[in-house]
């Protein structure tokens, strides 16, 4: 584990008593978490524990039911007593998404556009940047993920690892405050996982704040500032030191880690 020093610094992302339900199932129960600038945080836990939902709540793809989410100076506050209209929530959620980058397990590149066009679209459409500048921005980000030479290719002409790197470049083109990754390597062939993880390591070195929902325990252990273990909609414990990963306190964490270490990655994903 590598650890940043945050003494005297206030959190970049602050979740307070966040709750979220789908239909009548409570998926997130009273989550409180602070993430500081430059941190790389891994979120782990068994399927259905709410880790993906937590990620989606941070960039307001899901609107929280209670509590508050703050990213930099943008706040989505739904604590009791804060009576905000639906329209106002949508407005704030929309602003929030613009400063949070998101990478999906299923990549979700736009198949009708080339790689560079994929990365140009949001700056042009959302920020009103002109085409030349958008192209410049897009190419700079593609260069960062090592895809500048493939800029004019369409997604269906690339490998899975290349596609996911392009998706990272597309998110970076919006100059986000934080990058969120929802199981970014789960849909990749094992030999393609490394190139995506190394892009994330480089971004960490540049000081980008990143939150990753993952099953890559080795990566989580090596690269993360700390690991958040979730189960049944709650944060069970935060593993901030190397020895904590080897000797977690909570019985649920112990069980999960034992399973994930002994079984293949695929089985955990499917189980």
């Amino acid at each position: 584990m590598q650890k940043h020093d945050h003494s005297g610094q206030s959190a970049l992302i602050r979740l307070e008593n966040v709750t979220k339900s789908f239909d009548n199932t409570e998926v997130l129960k009273n989550i409180t978490l602070s993430i500081f600038e430059g941190d790389l945080v891994s979120i782990i836990g068994p399927s259905g524990c709410g880790k993906s939902t937590l990620l989606r709540c941070i960039n307001a793809l899901e609107i929280i039911d209670g509590g508050s989410v703050r990213v930099a100076d943008m706040v989505l506050d739904r604590r009791a007593g804060t009576d905000v209209s639906h329209k106002e929530i949508e407005k704030r959620a929309h602003r929030l998404r613009q400063s949070v980058g998101m990478v999906f397990q299923t990549f979700n590149l736009f198949p009708h556009k080339t790689i560079v066009e994929n990365a140009m679209m949001a700056p042009m459409v959302v920020q009103g940047v002109n085409k030349e500048i958008a192209r410049e921005i897009a190419l700079r980000q593609l260069d960062k993920v090592g895809l500048k030479s493939l800029a004019e290719r369409r997604p269906d002409q690339l490998s899975g690892g290349q596609i996911q790197r392009a998706a990272i470049a597309r998110a970076l083109a919006m100059s986000p405050n934080v990058m969120l990754y929802d199981e970014p390597t789960s849909a990749l062939d094992p030999e393609l996982v490394g190139e995506v993880l190394s892009v994330m390591r480089e971004l960490n070195a540049e000081g980008m704040t990143q939150i990753i929902v993952t099953h890559e325990m080795q990566f989580a252990k090596d690269a993360s500032d700390y690991i958040v273990f979730m189960d049944k909609g709650e944060i069970v414990e935060i593993l901030a030191e190397e020895f904590m990963v080897e000797h977690p306190k909570d019985i649920r964490t112990q069980k999960f880690l034992k399973r994930i270490m002994s079984l293949g990655r695929e089985d955990v994903t499917n189980g």
């Binding site: 998404r97 949070v100 299923t106 979700n108 997604p155 998110a171 919006m174």
Partner: protein, 512 residues
């Protein structure tokens, strides 16, 4: 893309035949426009078999003579026979002259000049018929007549026989020969012209009923009515009317009594003779081919109308269809779109067209035939295009929408830049197929006075009594017009097969 589209539209508009847009907004004092149906057939108003571009007939000659007396020039406006009377109310033309009988029913809707011709009904039967010699003999038999004609109402009142109604007298004669009907009852002038030209028919019995033809004007237009009556009186008196009627072999004892001019005929029935001759002349194969070739300029013009009507309708259908699909999928007003689509799809296109063209004037909306045709077809096909678009929009995975949203796009931006471009490619083949259907369905606009390919076919077929040869010709023309769109559809299908659906290797879109 928007600019290109506008340029395209502009080009189309600039090629557009303006005569179609304004059929009779003529304020020229020296012109009197008359509505008639060139498919009425001889001797009223018909395309000259020797040169189908010329419209002739005794009604045509009379209105020209009347106009001349009034110091005006008569100009012909094509209108379907059934819609002639309602066309007056719509100001499509100043007067109607097309063998219109002065009846109480007609008088309720329009005003008439004094009669310019008096005649009767006659019974036409096959040559070999021995049993029918009077109207009484027709009881218990199947009797044909023209749709909306005086004879139709007369026979309904007479009772005791089965009445079949025909759009064209030609088809009535055909059925008489085929044995589908036993007798055909029709205005004497029609019988006089067709019985000698259709082999195997004869006229039996005496005159039935008394028919007075008048020139119809819009209800309340007393000034024009009186001017016409005055002009008719003059041509009756100076012998001009008699001359015209004799030329057409239509001078009869009723007219002699009406004008009190019982002197023997002097003028040769030249028009009658030339008509009968041209109809009876058997033509060689070469002549027939030459005749079909001579139709080509007329068919080219009619085909252009068909294409333009179809293109404009399709543009409207695609735009409105997209709006409907978006309303249905993305807005809370889904029920409006659903109701529209179901109502339009659940009612016949022809009914919609007739309602728009003939029905809307009742509530004060008077549309030009071309505009009514485009709106009718456009509104109808919009319902089908909406469903095409809906299928296309829904086929784009929800994860695409989420990715756009995560990049900070609004719902509309996501739709515009991400969802729509992907769905359009999937929608091209069904939309192109629909355009081919629309091209063919556009033949229904012939029912609202537009001279499209089908209408032109009707005009020529009734003139030459040749539904077969000309029918094949016109079917071929429709087929040829459709070919580019069939090719476009094939091309689009191939292109999508190559690029659009090859996503199996890395399934971006597994999760919805």
């Amino acid at each position: 893309m928007g600019k290109k589209f506008l340029l395209w539209l502009f080009l189309l508009l600039s090629f557009f035949p303006h005569s179609l847009l304004s059929q009779s907004n003529d304020n020229n004092d020296h012109i009197i426009t008359f509505g008639a149906d060139a498919r009425s057939g001889a001797p009223y108003c018909f395309a000259d078999p020797n040169n189908p571009a010329i419209i002739k007939g005794f009604d045509v000659d009379i209105i020209h003579a009347v106009a001349e007396v009034m110091g005006k020039r008569a100009v012909f406006v094509q209108n379907s026979y059934e819609g002639l009377i309602s066309g007056l109310g719509r100001n499509n033309y100043d007067v109607v002259i097309d063998g219109i009988v002065i009846t109480p029913e007609h008088l309720a809707e329009v005003d008439f000049s004094t009669p310019y011709y008096v005649t009767s009904q006659t019974i036409v039967v096959p040559d070999n018929n021995k049993t029918i010699n009077s109207l009484e003999d027709c009881r218990g038999k199947k009797v044909g007549t023209l749709t909306g004609s005086e004879a139709f109402m007369f026979l309904e009142k007479f009772g005791g026989l089965t009445v079949l109604s025909y759009e064209q007298e030609v088809s009535g004669y055909q059925d008489l020969l085929n044995g589908r009907i036993d007798a055909f009852i029709i205005d004497a002038p029609v019988a006089i012209y067709y019985v000698p030209t259709v082999k195997g028919l004869k006229i039996v019995g005496g005159a039935i009923d008394r028919l007075m033809y008048g020139i119809a004007v819009k209800k309340g237009n007393i000034v024009l009515r009186d001017e016409l009556s005055a002009a008719i009186a003059i041509i009756k008196q100076n012998g001009k009317l008699r001359k015209i009627l004799e030329k057409w072999k239509l001078w009869n004892k009723e007219m002699a009594e009406l004008t009190e001019d019982r002197s023997p005929s002097e003028t040769e029935p030249t028009e009658y003779n030339s008509f009968v001759e041209s109809m009876n002349r058997s033509i060689s194969f070469q002549e027939r081919i030459d005749r079909y070739i001579s139709f080509l300029p007329m068919f080219a013009k009619a085909a252009w109308t068909t294409i333009i009507v179809s293109l404009f309708s399709m543009i409207m259908a695609m735009s409105l269809g997209l709006i409907l699909a978006i309303i249905r999928i993305y807005t809370p007003f889904k029920f409006i779109a659903v109701a529209y689509i179901e109502i339009i799809r659940g009612t016949p296109l022809l009914v919609q067209l007739l309602l728009i063209f003939y029905g809307l004037p009742n509530i004060g909306i008077r549309l030009d035939p071309f505009v009514a045709g485009v709106i009718g077809l456009g509104l109808n096909y919009a319902a089908f295009e909406a469903e095409n678009y809906r299928a296309g929009l829904l086929s784009v995975p929800r994860s695409q929408y989420e990715a756009a949203k995560a990049l900070g796009m609004t719902q509309w931006q996501a739709l515009r830049y991400v969802i729509l471009p992907q769905s359009v490619r999937l929608v091209i083949p069904p939309v192109t197929n629909d355009f081919i259907s629309l091209l063919k369905d556009s033949s229904l606009v012939s029912m609202i006075t537009i001279v499209d390919l089908t209408q032109q076919y009707n005009l020529l077929a009734t003139t030459y009594y040749d539904y077969f040869g000309i029918g094949i010709q016109v079917a071929l023309i429709y087929f040829i017009i459709g070919i580019p769109f069939v090719m476009l559809s094939r091309w689009a299908e191939r292109k999508i097969g190559r690029n659009g659906l090859r996503r199996k290797k890395y399934s971006f879109n597994l999760i919805r």
